[in-house]
């Protein structure tokens, strides 16, 4: 038993040590920076928590958080649903199944930067492919980028296209790793199709679905590359994400102190959200 106890550290320590050694200094540095008002050409001076107080009155923070939350509410459920559907579809046998699986994974490898630029040509309103098809079927030209509502939709569309693949990979791994004997037993008992799915597959998959969704929500808070080239955060600031604002503050305006505090606020928000989620989902993880 004692040997067991030693071994468990061997398994866990490399990851933890690697991460800690590289992350601990930047984290402390960020906290330190967030309490200052460091900018170029200026002496570093401590201003305590005033950066954090400023955040509450910064309309761009509120605006970007609102956008991010709306964005998550729209994209994550659709992506989870589509990813699950694709994963189940991939399990069926049909010719071209292998190619289909590769297609399902591909979007995740597409460079978000290239995708965002590509989106400019695809969503081009005066004669891009999308509006062309829409005109042919009678819907007409949609202002994909010049209208705030549609800009939100076009950004969401890009995200759904790309990140469904992320969830697909995770869900597929889950499906493939389900113990087959339970299925065999159930089918002997006469269960099939929808019932099989509802009472056996879904509950077994729930942990990995949850993991995937949690990851996606976290990543959605950090969406940036996908949006930046396509809309620039516009029209106005209607599609400016929280991370885009942090990026501008930190690396465009070089207000490093404020940017650090914005980052740490995100850390706090997400920690609270995860805590709340864990309370509800503890059963799922059975830890």
């Amino acid at each position: 038993m004692r040997k067991e106890e030693k071994v468990k550290y061997l398994f866990l320590l490399p990851s933890v040590a690697l991460v800690l050694s590289f992350v601990i200094f930047p984290l402390i540095y960020s906290v330190f920076l967030s309490l200052t008002n460091w900018q170029i050409g200026r002496e570093l001076s401590f201003i305590g928590l005033s950066n954090y107080l400023k955040i509450f009155t910064d309309f761009r923070v509120l605006n970007s958080l609102e956008f991010t939350l709306k964005f998550i509410a729209l994209t994550v459920p659709i992506e989870a649903f589509l990813a699950l559907g694709l994963a189940l579809l991939s399990q069926k046998s049909f010719t071209g199944n292998k190619v289909f699986r590769i297609l399902c994974i591909l979007p995740f490898f597409a460079s978000p930067i290239a995708l965002s630029y590509l989106g400019i040509t695809i969503f081009y309103e005066e004669g891009g492919p999308l509006n062309n098809i829409l005109s042919l079927i009678g819907v007409g030209k949609i202002p994909w980028i010049s209208n705030p509502t549609y800009a939100f939709l076009s950004v969401s569309l890009l995200d759904i296209w790309q990140w469904t693949a992320f969830l697909y990979v995770i869900f597929l791994a889950g499906l493939e790793s389900l113990p087959k004997d339970i299925y065999e037993a159930a089918m002997v008992d006469g269960a099939s199709g929808w019932r099989l799915f509802k009472s056996i597959t879904l509950p077994l998959l729930l942990p990995i679905i949850t993991t995937g969704v949690i990851f996606k929500v976290i990543e959605s808070f950090k969406v940036f590359d996908l949006i930046y080239a396509l809309t620039g955060g516009g029209p106005g600031i209607s599609t400016e994400s929280y991370t885009m604002y942090i990026y501008k503050t930190g690396l465009r305006f070089f207000r490093m102190g404020y940017a650090a505090s914005l980052s740490l606020i995100l850390l706090i928000i997400l920690s609270i959200l995860l805590m709340l989620a864990m309370i509800r989902l503890r059963r799922v993880y059975e830890v």
Binding site: N37, Q39, I40, G41, R42, I120, Y124, E125, E126, P143, W144, I145, S146, N147, P148, A151, Y228, T231, G232, G233, G234, P235, G236, I237, K248, L251, R252, F253, F254, R255
Partner: protein, 586 residues
């Protein structure tokens, strides 16, 4: 300090060697067939050494055709042709690392470096290392390199917005002394337009070696203007002659309205009056400032509190972005927007240029000098030979903040300006090869190289503006350029070239005032704020006045956060407060 003394002695002895070398070479050249090398028009030497090629092909400069301009201690420019002899100063073994925009061997700004790399390396014995940075991230990379002390870049070709951060942080070298040093290639500061000079200087001192002259000009379809049917119809409808070119924004509005919504090019679809790139986080604020400047900047002999300033009150740092002048500008922009495609709000320059030049579906636009270049490319343009150009329109009325009223003039007052980045070279203080670095930048901005840059190097992205670029016929005899060069070597249509160069000349040298380019630390943040508020007004979310009021409040907050006194001091330094302005050349 010791370094300086040695270098002066060195300079004297090298100058003596040079003088002997020059005389010898001159004799040889004279025997061998004398080229017009002793004239003060360096452009002519370019003609001699040039092989005429079709636009778009790469031209390699062989050793035999390299011209070298050598400056003696006597300020007379002598050009030497033929194989290189001992140059004035060499930097054996040094490597100069230049950070520039990513564009490759044929893209904007980087192509210039690649084109001249071999020539310069042979000239000085140093090595040129070009590091390309994606356009959107240039500012961050250069600043990060300087702040963290990594010190990889020796030279950076930056946008004027970045200068404030770099100067104030102490990251760039002041080049006043280098400019006076006779060992280095000479570029004449008096040959650059005033706005360019303002961009590269800070508090009266020079920090940047100017290169590009990035301005916005009015472009219109000359073929439409020359059509007598259109002229008659316009006169009937509006009661005055179709203005060629439009001289005020009201006239632009009328022209845009006139040409909007009907098929004037026979392709079966209605065309538009104008097109523009109004996307947020892209070019919208440049294009707005182009319109708003003439209503807001009062001309005067000196840069004082109420004349020749735009953004802030230099004494109090009160934002002036929500004064009646800028508001009228924004209202005009909103009005103009009606005569272009609705999608414009989401257009960066790509789709907008495509619309005007490649599709030819807009009658006018106002945009960078690159349009004139793009219009000459038969692979991308349907408007070659149809390009009309003019300096940005002006206004009969300019807001006078001192007397809180509109001041009326009897002719349109034009606000010429540099609005673009005005890409120029700076030498970073942490560089270990400052002299080699300065040599490179000065050499690149010397007349022959600069002329080649705007004509031969098809994708250079560098716009004309120096005295060397203008043919005398469109610049009242002042220019030192050659129209034939622009046509044969640059591949321009002759009428297009004339129209374009005349527009550039008038904009820089015959305007009444100019719009100062905001370079103070925090400029990115201020312009970002302006950008999003303009966008709100353009999509109709707010009225022009509300949008600019919100912008002004934002600017106040930004100034407060960065330290009002500090910002005021920097603002005054950056605009050359108290110094006279000189627009017209001697």
């Amino acid at each position: 300090m010791k370094e300086r003394k040695i270098s002066r002695r060195d300079a004297l002895s090298t100058a003596a060697k040079v003088a002997i070398g020059v005389v010898a070479a001159g004799v040889i050249a004279g025997i061998g067939g004398y080229y017009a090398g002793s004239q003060v028009a360096p452009a002519k030497t370019v003609t001699e050494t040039k092989t005429v090629t079709a636009p778009g092909t790469t031209i390699t400069v062989g050793a035999a055709t390299v011209t070298e301009k050598v400056t003696e201690t006597v300020t007379k420019t002598v050009t030497v042709t033929g194989p290189l002899t001992t140059p004035a100063v060499r930097f054996e073994g040094a490597t100069v690392t230049v950070a520039c925009m990513a564009g490759g061997p044929e893209g904007p700004h980087s192509s210039v470096l690649y084109y001249f790399k071999d020539e310069w390396e042979k000239l000085t014995g140093a090595k040129l290392n070009v590091i390309e940075i994606p356009f959107g991230e240039l500012h961050e990379k250069v600043l990060t390199d300087a702040i963290t002390g990594a010190g990889v870049y020796d030279v950076a070709k930056i946008c004027a917005t970045s200068l404030g951060d770099l100067v104030v942080g102490g990251y760039v070298e002041c080049i006043d002394d280098y400019m006076k040093d006779p060992r280095f290639p000479k570029w004449d500061p008096a040959h650059v337009p005033e706005p360019v000079r303002r961009c590269v200087t800070w508090g009266g001192k020079w920090y940047g070696i100017p290169n590009d002259c990035d301005g916005i000009y009015l472009y219109y379809r000359r073929d439409l203007w020359e059509d007598s049917y259109n002229r008659e119809e316009f006169k009937t409808k509006y009661g005055y002659e179709l203005p060629d070119p439009p001289k005020t924004w009201d006239e632009v509005r009328d022209c845009a309205e006139f040409f909007n919504g009907w098929d004037w090019n026979g392709d079966g679809e209605p065309e538009y009056g104008l097109c523009q790139s109004l996307k947020v986080a892209a070019q919208a604020w440049f294009k707005y400032l182009a319109v708003a400047a003439c209503y807001s900047v009062l001309p005067g002999p000196v840069v004082d509190r109420y004349h020749n300033v735009f953004h802030f009150d230099p004494e109090t740092m009160e934002p002036r972005i929500n004064k009646p002048g800028p508001i009228k500008g924004l209202e005009m922009l909103i009005e103009l927007k009606k005569y272009g495609p609705e999608a414009m709000i989401g257009w960066d320059i790509g789709p907008s240029w495509d619309f005007f030049v490649t599709k030819g579906k807009a009658a006018l636009t106002w945009d960078w000098g690159d349009i004139a270049r793009m219009a000459q490319d038969p692979k991308r343009s349907v408007i070659k030979g149809k390009l009309g150009a003019a300096p940005l329109p002006g206004s009969y009325e300019v807001w006078d903040e001192e007397n809180k009223t509109w001041k009326r003039f009897d002719r349109p007052i034009r606000c010429g300006n540099i609005l673009g980045c005005d890409w120029f070279y700076v030498i970073l203080k942490h560089s270990k090869n400052k002299e080699a670095a300065y040599h490179l930048c000065a050499w690149l901005s010397a007349p022959e190289q600069l002329f080649k840059t705007v004509t031969v190097i098809w994708g250079s992205g560098v716009d004309p503006g120096w005295r060397i670029h203008f043919p005398p016929e469109i610049s009242e005899g002042w220019g030192l350029g050659n129209l034939k060069e622009w046509v044969t070597v640059g591949g321009y249509d002759e009428r297009d070239a004339k129209a374009f160069l005349k527009a550039v000349y008038e904009q820089y040298f015959k305007s009444d005032t100019f719009l100062e380019y905001l370079k103070i630390p925090g400029a990115s943040e201020l312009m970002d704020s302006l950008d999003i508020h303009i966008n709100e007004a353009l999509v109709g979310k707010r009225s022009a006045k509300d949008a600019l009021d919100a912008c002004a409040r934002d600017w106040e907050r930004i100034v407060e956060e960065r330290g009002k006194d500090q910002m005021k001091k920097w603002y005054q330094e950056s605009i050359g407060y108290g110094l006279p302005i000189k627009i017209k050349p001697d």
